[in-house]
Symmetry: C2
Subunit: 344 residues, 2 copies
Amino acid sequence: MIIDCHGHYTTEPKDLHRFRKEQTAAATSGGKMAMPSRATLKIPDDEIRESIEQNQLKLQRERGTDLTIFSPRASGMGHHIGDESVGLEWSQICNDLIARVVSLFPQNFIGVCQLPQSPGVPPKNAIDELERCVNMGFIGCNLNPDPSGGYFNAPPLTDKWWYPFYEKMVELDVPAMIHVSGSCNPAMHTTGSYYLNADTMAFMQLILSGLFKDFPTLKLIIPHGGGAVPFHWGRYRGLAQDMKRPPLEELLLGNVFFDTCVYHLPGIELLLKVIPIDNLLFGSEMVGAVRGIDPRTGHYYDDTKRYVDALPVSDADRSKLFEGNAYRVYPRLKAQLAAAAKGH
Amino acid sequence: MIIDCHGHYTTEPKDLHRFRKEQTAAATSGGKMAMPSRATLKIPDDEIRESIEQNQLKLQRERGTDLTIFSPRASGMGHHIGDESVGLEWSQICNDLIARVVSLFPQNFIGVCQLPQSPGVPPKNAIDELERCVNMGFIGCNLNPDPSGGYFNAPPLTDKWWYPFYEKMVELDVPAMIHVSGSCNPAMHTTGSYYLNADTMAFMQLILSGLFKDFPTLKLIIPHGGGAVPFHWGRYRGLAQDMKRPPLEELLLGNVFFDTCVYHLPGIELLLKVIPIDNLLFGSEMVGAVRGIDPRTGHYYDDTKRYVDALPVSDADRSKLFEGNAYRVYPRLKAQLAAAAKGH
């Protein structure tokens, strides 16, 4: 089985966008406009089915992948928009929609949730929604290290500020993908710099901390191939060494994983050369940041399976990358798949 | 000749630190403490000589490089500290010190200046200092895309806000290295994430703009191997394509250059594979972010020449990387070297 650990529902039915537009307008109107009612949302099963069949499911089949670990559109989380109550309602709606996708296509998708984070609001306030989603069968969450939307003014992920949330993650045995949302900073393009910069920032925060001494079983996925990290692996090894930190393997590679969302062969080649195979999860983030076909190859830029297939990886390693590591990183995955196979 | 395009004076005589400490204390005391007088600075030639001979010059000799394009310590620029007048005095002092290094070692160092930038202050206010430095023989400048020190709240480099400064750069025929200073953001480690994130951000800003249509001869160097960019080259090619921008070669590779400050062989290998040789400048940033010896190789992490030497690069390409490209990117370099050789 080939498991894609990084997919977002980026082809949502249009009424979701209508709702969010009205919600955003109300949230930013200073009380002048009314919040839309959740009951107005009209998203029939057929629309969900079509949006998936024509896009993610079609691409799964074409590319030969089997299962996508699926969460709401990352750029749509918009944690900087509105207050905590707006964020909570929006998260619940988006997560419920993922639950519906999973229930319609239980063999092909499994849920990861968005969290109701807001600038300045303690992450522990997101615990209830995490629990609700895990009870619906979700196996992980997307944790935003910068709810400001591009100004990086939250405490580092290693600050005690985040600890109550990590305690719950550990208790529920779910990992987090560290993933920012859309940028509202005109200097910081969402998919071209913000995502990668948050990944890079997060990794360096982890080097500086004893987070995994405090939470030995906490698991974090750094997406987009780890941002700049593998390309600068020597810098990180050297910085850790200069600071008298343990080697990276010992310091964090028991807890930190990178996906393969790197959209060209030389990048994937570097990733597999530098990062231990046990720390890699296959991912494509399709349908996502880059939607075109590379004229040099004739294939989609984000068809990351092709890059992996082109490299001389042993069968054992390939199996870890495509499947085995995912069971380790997402401990609830196997039971959920078994339940889905039984038709639960 | 082997030209290292990226060196900072990170081994400054101690009285410079004393001055800066007092200056910072005064600037942040709300008028309670007096500014130190520039006349109190005691930095004899012998101290400068020793600080260079024992460090950068020693390493040049050991590694077999000849000339370093040399600027003040990047993390020390501290554009977020104090107001514009504080920044101006500090820039002048740091640049004058570089001029003294160059006059003591004219065969081995050539100057690039720090600029007096401050959050919210128009970049055009840095023009006088740029001109002053060029008149002293400097051949370029370090331009900070985020004077806030880690919150990324300046207008993008492609905003008209920066244009008067670019006009002067073009007039003087000097390039800028895009280089942030030290981070005052607890979430953003200076050399482990801030530098790389600013590089990545800048590159994406350039993709989105028509900057080089407005300034066809403007030259920008993105240091640290371009941040995350070469590792994600497919992402950038794909994003440009999705946005109907011209191919990257056409859009910006006539104007944008990356250095080789990537501290392991697989990273340099990727860099040389992905980025056209005409867009690469040899650089090490020594003595800089990573000072240790890699136990896997027995050599300094930042001895980037060894990585280049280990790769199968043609003599013609090697010559471009080590020397030829630098003459193109720094048009004033040749004349300055000729003047130095004549003992001017």
